[in-house]
Symmetry: C2
Subunit: 190 residues, 2 copies
């Protein structure tokens, strides 16, 4: 998606530890016009899928998922991050390791909002090691729902997440895949 790649080159900044900051337009301040184009592009890419629900994870996935959902005309459900697992049996849950923050957390979703009848599209802003996305896939499987695919805004192609998710047989569409980045350069996969 050229508009997105141009924006990353223009406004993204690379920080030590392979951190790409895009918080001026994607995940702190949000450029709603750009995110609208992102939503349209997800719809184009998954137009052949009978999506009934978009699943994302708080916090930065929510806005993107909501804008995209307008094009699919389906509800959004967002999984919540928690450090206190709910044991009442009313939630699906998966354990996720965060490399960025060096912590482990649980991702939970009420059982009321995902079931075997659902065809799920996952949406998130970033894919790096793939741990959050694997947590969401675990929840889709636990619900007995059909996973139609995953739409990611920015994939760090030099980290392992994309390969892991694709090797699982998941249809993964990333709008920009970064092959390498440093203080002075950033290259995309074609």
């Amino acid at each position: 998606m050229d508009l997105l790649k141009e924006r990353i080159l223009k406004d993204g900044t690379v920080k030590p530890g392979n951190v790409l900051k895009v918080d001026s337009f994607l995940n702190h301040q949000m450029d709603i016009q750009l995110i609208n184009e992102i939503g349209k592009e997800f719809k184009r890419l998954f137009s052949d899928c009978p999506v009934t629900k978009i699943l994302t994870i708080e916090a930065s996935g929510i806005g993107i998922a909501c804008i995209a959902a307008q094009y699919f005309n389906v509800p959004v459900v967002f999984a919540k991050k928690t450090h206190t697992i709910n044991l009442d049996g009313e939630t699906y849950s998966a354990r996720v390791q965060s490399f960025t923050h060096q912590t482990v957390y649980d991702v939970i979703l009420s059982k009321k909002y995902l079931g075997p009848e659902d065809h799920v599209l996952l949406i998130d802003d970033f894919l790096a090691n793939g741990c959050a996305l694997q947590g969401l896939i675990e929840i889709v499987n636990e619900a007995g729902a059909t996973l139609e695919g995953a739409g990611i805004v920015i994939e760090k192609g030099f980290q392992s997440g994309g390969k892991i998710i694709r090797d699982m047989g998941v249809r993964l569409e990333s709008l920009a895949i970064i092959d390498s980045m440093s203080d002075s350069s950033l290259t995309f996969r074609n």
Copy 2:
């Protein structure tokens, strides 16, 4: 907003401790068509305000703010909740007490995304004691920005937040104000 009130009556449930659960359509699963109508209504209510930015707080405000922002054609910025205050001087911050979770947290926002030139509309899903909203107002003041108003989806009119915020002179528009609720009944302010 009748459509919203009808939906609260139909799908909202009251839990002990004055908790109103609306997570089937507003803040866990999100009915995007309803939220679109909510966004339109905020635009109608604040159509005379020269809004340049919508400010909300993670997590459940984000989707509503993003959908609403389409009608204002402005960016969204979302404040982040953290328990570790950033002391590098690059963020605005405010301390917030959560009555719901009995904790204190800091709300932070990068100084890059709010300044004296901005005219800010605050958007959030709930107003109860008003602590989160007061935190956002503090940040707007710290930035030297102009506060145009606050748009809330559901206000618990029997708690003190609405009065506190209105007494501060803030233009507050709540789409549904609940005057009382119990297991068997729920009444709105007209």
